[in-house]
């Protein structure tokens, strides 16, 4: 089955679009950030999927055994960094939303725009 063979990549694409949709369509700032997290999560999945080698195991050398097939460890290391970046982005984004709520008393984009037109 050609479609099922790329199952991980299908999930990646679907999650990516769900996240992007939330970012674009939602007017609630927190929901936008949730969408952003889903969007980033999809990319983590892409990286994790690509490191899989058929029949491969965790890339740990044990007792000098070099005969086994290992999965590629590099994408995992890369995506660990990207996950850290993602956490930092979400944390910073939420902190800004908290400040926005302190200033405007709302996290709805329409409310906030309406208030700024007045001032």
């Amino acid at each position: 089955m050609a479609i099922l063979a790329y199952f991980n990549y299908w999930v990646f694409a679907v999650l990516l679009v769900i996240g992007l949709y939330a970012v674009i369509a939602k007017t609630n700032l927190v929901k936008q950030l949730i969408g952003l997290s889903i969007f980033q999560g999809a990319v983590f999945l892409l990286y994790i999927s690509m490191n899989k080698v058929e029949g491969g195991t965790a890339p740990i050398f044990l007792n000098g055994n070099t005969e086994r097939i290992f999965s590629n460890p590099l994408p995992q290391v890369l995506i660990l960094t990207a996950i850290v970046v993602g956490i930092a982005t979400t944390a910073l984004g939420l902190a800004v939303v908290v400040r926005i709520r302190e200033e405007y008393g709302s996290v709805e984009e329409d409310d906030i725009k309406a208030q700024d037109v007045g001032s």
Binding site: L36, L78, A82, A88, T89, G93, V96, V97
Partner: protein, 496 residues
């Protein structure tokens, strides 16, 4: 190894290590002084590096002694040196210039953290333009973005927060697109080193993932570079950021993203993807033309001066992209030299507006009515920088427009239309610069308005330093032009 061999790494390490130190300095203007000193040191390192590249040619530095392509490589050529000079120079000038306005906007309590974020932006931008590793580039891209969100959110107006939120959303989308692209290329080539990637893409048999990656990377970086039509985050972010931050980011933040875009497209994709040249031209030329026509038109109708300059930046980025998309050595030289020149022009214009805002307390057009009589030096600098943006001879703006228009004319009839559009956009620039000049010189000062006087000497001195640089490099443009010419030759793969 002597210290000179480590210059490429010091460029990044010095500001990166001093950023946490600055958070500990909690005495009055000490954080400002420490960051200014660090930034100046980075500038000196950039000059030293420029000297090394001028004598020895392009440098390669293996971080931690791990040889490329396995380790992270810092690759420094004339193009990166030009960008390093812009970034560290802009940061230093903006810090010296911005002392008074930052004291007012940031306050003593938040200053240590604010300046730490500033140094992180500086370190990450330097990293972006020196690294030769695609994933390392993503990390630097995100460090610079995260830290600049902090800088923008520090703006005194509450609208700065919404501008930051928007920038976070769009900036993260852009960086994640870039990450997807890098992942796809890694999947096909098994390498992250840019030079190595360029070699191996030629061996890839199934090209579709690479094409998709080219699309993702171009789009992601275009978002970061505020290319039309994905520029929506930029005018508000610049308008509501603290004044000194506007000067710094307007001069170099989008430039670094453009640098990466140019580097990726020319080094990795262009020589190895058959259709890429036609695709780049077909994609960028229409967008660039619309960018400078729409950007300039919106700027004409804008009444907030900082937003006006932001929209004018959208137009200027359009010029740079046009030069990139024409793909000839002349056009690419024009585009790269405009990266440098636009930093000088927009830096000076923002600084002049900030001087006015410092005294009048407002950046709205009506508030500056008649201020030229009280602030003749500031307004004179604005006029010189404005002429430079329009592209009057003897200013830097003329040099880059001359190159771009010449490059357009090489293409025959379609090129005439491009040149005409470019000139039309310059005429629109005359209109919006004139609006400010008219208000400042020819409108009477309202009766009830407070008395004005010239900005403090340190601010004025740094404003005029940049303004004179506009004239200096307009008359003797050999330094930026030489670097730009060498850079475009390397990028197009021709012997200099």
């Amino acid at each position: 190894m002597s210290i000179e061999d480590h210059l490429p790494a010091l460029q990044i390490v010095v500001p990166l290590l001093l950023a946490p130190v600055v958070t500990l300095l909690r005495v009055r203007s000490l954080p400002w002084a420490a960051s200014t000193a660090t930034s100046a040191l980075t500038f000196v390192l950039a000059i030293a590096l420029a000297g090394q590249v001028a004598t020895d040619g392009a440098l390669s530095y293996a971080v931690g002694g791990w040889q490329p392509p396995y380790g992270i490589e810092l690759a420094i050529d004339q193009f990166s040196v030009l960008l390093l000079l812009i970034i560290s120079g802009a940061s230093t000038v903006a810090l010296v210039f911005g002392k008074a306005s930052l004291d007012r906007e940031i306050g003593e309590e938040r200053a240590p953290l604010f300046f730490a974020a500033w140094l992180l932006v500086l370190a990450a931008l330097c990293g972006m333009v020196t690294t030769g590793d695609a994933f390392n580039l993503f990390v630097f891209l995100e460090i610079s973005s995260l830290a600049s969100y902090v800088l923008i959110a520090a703006g005194p107006d509450r609208r700065a927060l919404m501008a930051t939120h928007r920038y976070i959303i769009l900036g993260t989308l852009g960086a994640t697109f870039y990450l997807i692209g890098v992942g796809l290329i890694y999947m096909m080539t098994g390498t992250l080193n840019l030079a190595d990637m360029a070699l191996r893409i030629g061996e890839v048999s199934e090209l579709r993932p690479v094409l998709v990656a080219a699309g993702f990377i171009t789009m992601g970086l275009a978002l970061k570079a505020a290319m039309f039509p994905v520029h929506a985050w930029m005018p508000n972010a610049y308008a509501f950021a603290p004044h000194a931050v506007s000067v710094f980011l307007a001069a170099c933040a989008t430039k670094a993203a453009l640098y990466v875009l140019i580097r990726f497209d020319f080094v990795v994709f262009l020589p190895h993807l058959a259709e890429h040249a036609a695709q780049v031209s077909a994609f960028f030329i229409p967008l660039a033309v619309v960018a400078f026509l729409v950007g300039s038109t919106v700027a004409v109708f804008e009444r907030n001066l900082k937003r006006m300059l932001g929209y004018s930046s959208v137009a200027q980025i359009g010029y740079i992209l046009l030069g990139v998309a024409l793909l000839t050595p002349l056009a690419l030289t024009g585009a790269i030299v405009h990266l440098f020149n636009h930093a000088l022009i927009k830096g000076a214009l923002f600084m002049a507006v900030v001087c006015i805002a410092h005294r009048t307390g407002s950046v709205q057009l009506p508030a500056i009515a008649g201020c030229a009589r009280a602030m003749p030096l500031t307004m004179a600098a604005f006029v010189v920088a404005g002429l430079s943006m329009i592209g009057v001879p003897l200013t830097v703006g003329f040099v880059s427009k001359w190159y771009l228009i010449q490059a357009c004319l090489e293409f025959g009839v379609p090129g005439y239309f491009l040149a005409a559009a470019l000139l039309l956009s310059s005429l629109l620039a005359v209109v919006y610069v004139w609006k400010v000049v008219e208000a400042a010189y020819f409108k009477p000062r309202p009766e009830e308005a407070p008395e004005l006087c010239e900005a403090p000497p340190m601010i004025l001195a740094s404003l005029w330093l940049v303004t004179l640089a506009n004239l200096w490099f307009g008359i003797d443009s050999s330094l930026p032009l030489g670097l730009a010419r060498a850079a475009s030759m390397t990028l197009l793969g021709e012997a200099p």
